[in-house]
């Protein structure tokens, strides 16, 4: 049975698209047939991060409107066998994502995919609501920063009251915390919220912590999901996150500054 997973946050610029791209790629690397959908109508970006921007012919809204068949719009990744991208439309029509249309497309994808990853736009408008509505699970992407944490809390409230699962009184959407752009040295200095702080406030299980990393910018420059850069810190943090999602035990890494351990700092350097 296909699983629909939304990558959501409320606030923009926290790493949803980065996370969607790497999470989907990671699941596909494990052999699962995976599609990642860009719900950011009007501000298409996932195609760039996935490196398939020049292969976009039809988009999500074309499929909803019956202007293209699903398999005409799906872009097959050139690196990972079982990975597909469904790009967002660049239309300015905010109401293009009509609920029954979205449902129809998701139902069709369910027939052949294991995982459907929905990259949500920022905010709580139509696109974000549609990305969340049909979700079975949610990766709540959060930065260790006040406005992001507050927005994530609001999103959790919406998932618990306005999602399809909530509205139809089914088992609630399964929530996972993904803490991104984490800078341990700033946490140790006392000017950034720690993982524990954020977990205490949001009170949902932690799926992964992604460090602030120059590898993210570099890989987005060349259109390669950072998880494919296996030797980088952010890339391996995403690989761990995927493993944990699939039920494997992986200790959390990148939570402390590596170069300066406790004893180094204690006895000077």
């Amino acid at each position: 049975m296909a699983k629909i997973i939304v990558v959501t946050s409320g606030k923009g610029g926290v790493g949803k698209t980065t996370t969607s791209a790497s999470f989907a790629t990671g699941l596909a690397l494990r052999g699962f047939k995976t599609v990642v959908i860009d719900f950011d109508v009007g501000l298409r970006n996932l195609d760039l991060i996935m490196g398939c921007e020049r292969r976009v012919v039809y988009d999500f809204v074309n499929v909803i409107n019956g202007e293209a068949a699903l398999n005409q719009a799906l872009i097959k990744d050139k690196r990972v066998e079982t990975l597909y991208v469904l790009p967002a439309s660049q239309t300015r029509d905010k109401d293009a994502l009509e609920q029954s249309g979205v449902e129809r497309v998701l139902d069709e994808l369910r027939q052949s995919f294991d995982y459907i990853i929905c990259d949500s736009p920022a905010g709580i408008e139509r696109g974000a609501m549609m990305a969340m509505y049909f979700a079975d699970e949610a990766l709540v992407t959060t930065n260790p920063e006040v406005s992001s944490v507050r927005d994530s809390d609001r999103i959790l409230g919406i998932l618990a009251s306005k999602s399809r699962r909530a509205v139809q009184a089914e088992e609630p959407v399964k929530e996972h915390l993904v803490l991104t752009r984490y800078a341990p040295e700033r946490v140790e200095r006392g000017d950034m919220l720690s993982v524990d702080d954020v977990m205490e406030i949001l009170a949902i299980p932690l799926l992964g912590v992604i460090p602030e990393s120059s590898a993210v910018l570099q890989s987005s420059n060349s259109g390669v999901p950072v998880i494919l850069e296996e030797t980088t810190d952010a890339g391996s943090a995403y690989a761990d996150l995927v493993a944990r999602f699939l039920g494997e035990e992986r200790p959390h890494r990148f939570l402390t500054t590596e170069k300066k351990g406790f004893f180094k700092r204690l006895f000077g350097n």
Binding site: R150, A160, Q168, A169, V187, L193, I201, L266
Partner: protein
Amino acid sequence: MGFFDYFRANRKKQNSAAVAKERLQIIVAHERGSGRRRSPDYLPALKRELLEVVRKYVQVEQDQIKVHLDRDGDCEVLELNILLPDDEVPARPAT
């Protein structure tokens, strides 16, 4: 950084991150309202049990019963929708 600096650095933790956490705890508690962000946990069970009761009288399918919980400001509305099959309108008791 020496031994004492380490503890001094640690004490500084009481600054901006600690302030951020405290402010967040307050605002988030406030915005969640009194009942926290409780998902309507009891709804799946309510739906199952309602279905059992209804089925004592009419044969309905699982997907013919819909329970909606809507929040409108301070007011919560529980909406129950049961679609009865056409052929099984219960007989009106003889009077």
